[in-house]
Amino acid sequence: MLNYLWAGMIVVGIIFGAFQGKMPDITDAALESSKEAVTLCLTMMGVMSFWTGLMEIATKAGIIEWLSSVMRPAIRFMFPRIPRGHKANEHITTNIIANILGLGWAATPAGLQAMEALGELEEERGHKRDVASDEMCTFLILNISSLQLIPINVIAYRSQYGSVDPARIVGAGLLATTISTLVAIIYCKFKNRRGSR
């Protein structure tokens, strides 16, 4: 799917741009975007290394284990087929905790490690590596449904643009997030119950 999506974006973009006389802009965009991606990676490299370093300490000190035990019932409910004690549990928990706290930069490395661990789990089960497992689909849909408790960046932008009450949307945002997450949970539960594959 990603192959088609990616090719589609480039083909549509360039052909459409040609008719609009936007060819120079497209050249600029391609060069600028690739440069932007590298700059972004350089920034991310520092933040991510800092975070995974901290997480290593937290793991060794048993903090992640403690937080995981708090979250365990919820994780087991959403991912009943991951064996107990598998490292995927730990990465998923870290990612979800970081997402709830709104630490997006912290959620991504844990999320990537969770996906790798889930990939290994699929290999252990003897399934093909390039097909997403139920756990992967559930994990991503949950992530995309947004789990954030306090949208602090939106509050900051609102106050910057002269809102009388920048934090007015906190309750509303929380309610909307709860609704989208509930829809995600129900949909995934429904899909997983049908025991696909």
Binding site: M1, F16, S49, G53, K60, E116, I144, P166, A176, V183
Partner: protein, 174 residues
């Protein structure tokens, strides 16, 4: 609300302090472990760098061609009928691809229509209850070397749609 903002300022430093102090108390060799962990993060970024370059170039081209604007304009005619403001169509589409581009559009909405107008409120709530679908999917699935994504996109779109509908509904009652 001041307290909440105050708390948010405290989250990161307190998490750092808690981890390091508790680790030292538990006799963990904190600095050695930090370095070992930092290496993992470093290599993770190196692994996703090609993905990021590929994706950002594709989105950049699509945006420069004017295609995203056309799409928003066309869809806007449809969304007006169901009560969704067409001014927010570009934002909801771009948010699926790129969080930073969406932030740019959000600020534009705030400037044009005001933060506390109906459009401003819907935009604020929408931004706090949705995530970048295509970006998240491509980065995460490429890390797991997955090509067939099965029902992920349907579920993600469904959750996002629910979030957007909730935003419009809630903003109308504020």
């Amino acid at each position: 609300m001041k307290l909440l903002m105050y708390l948010t300022d405290f989250i990161v430093p307190v998490v750092v302090l808690g981890i390091v102090a508790y680790g030292a108390m538990e006799q963990v060799k904190v600095y050695d472990e930090f370095i070992r962990g930092a290496k993992k993060g470093f290599y993770t970024v190196i692994r996703i760098m090609p993905t990021l370059i590929g994706l950002m170039v594709a989105v950049g081209i699509l945006r420069a061609s004017g295609f995203l604007d056309l799409l928003s304009g066309l869809l806007g005619k449809v969304t007006d009928y169901i009560g969704f403001p067409s001014q927010l169509v570009p934002l909801s589409i771009v948010k699926m691809f790129s969080s930073s581009a969406a932030t740019g559009l959000l600020l534009d909405v705030f400037k044009e229509y005001g933060t506390d107008s109906r459009i401003g409120l819907i935009a604020s709530i929408m931004m706090s209850c949705t995530e970048t679908i295509f970006y998240t999917m491509s980065v995460y699935f490429m890390a797991a070397k997955v090509k067939k994504t099965r029902y992920t996109l349907t579920g993600a779109l469904l959750a996002t749609l629910a979030g957007i509908m909730a935003s419009v509904f809630i903003a109308g009652r504020m």
